[in-house]
Amino acid sequence: MAAVAPGSGASREEEGTGGDAATPQPPAPTSAPGARLSRLPLARVKALVKADPDVTLAGQEAIFILARAAELFVETIAKDAYCCAQQGKRKTLQRRDLDNAIEAVDEFAFLEALSLDY
């Protein structure tokens, strides 16, 4: 159950992100804090966080930065995987490139379970 972070004063914001995954929030419009805020639909990120039964409350700003971190993660793993593809002299990124990246990078160890059904 996410709460609006104190002081971020926006029932409007809450609504926008709490649009309850009915529609994924489109890339931030120009009136909102710059496109850089997140390319991920905040409502979905919030829903994912709430899906954890142990999580009680998560503030709005926490969701924002988590979304940004997830973006960075995608960029990082994509680039790492691409390196593997290039080493294999391929131009198309294949699933095995991701598997290799997961294996190679310590921080990606948490993904090994996803990579096993290969």
């Binding site: 971020s8 529609t23 804090p33 994912l48 988590l66 997830a70 960075l72 680039k79 990579s115």
Partner: protein, 176 residues
Amino acid sequence: MASSSGNDDDLTIPRAAINKMIKETLPNVRVANDARELVVNCCTEFIHLISSEANEICNKSEKKTISPEHVIQALESLGFGSYISEVKEVLQECKTVALKRRKASSRLENLGIPEEELLRQQQELFAKARQQQAELAQQEWLQMQQAAQQAQLAAASASASTQAGSSQDEDDDDDI
């Protein structure tokens, strides 16, 4: 895009968002579909990982709500410390936006008409409207009265003239 089975665990980040990010990160690179699928799942897993860790950190602090600081600490402890500086930029922007919004709403309150004055104006308008309604109603009533009077007069003079015309028609008076 409501979760179809209602099962929270089926939630993922939408594919389109991931595709867009991949495209921006690796322009002109072809990516196999199953690779994209895996990225979607990895992203979801990442979010669970960080939020879980942040939640634990939050529980250990005296706070009840996961704060940005908790997320940052989680990133650090899980080996994603390199993301922190960029993530902090987002935080800065959040605060800037929140600040702007607060300023904007207080500016509006100051430059606009104060609430008491608005209320007074409203009362005035209501009073005026009521008055107009009353006047209108009265006019209509008067008009009806006049019309009725005229009708009576017309009828009276008509019967008077017929009476003067022939006495045998006295009975006709009763028919009016």
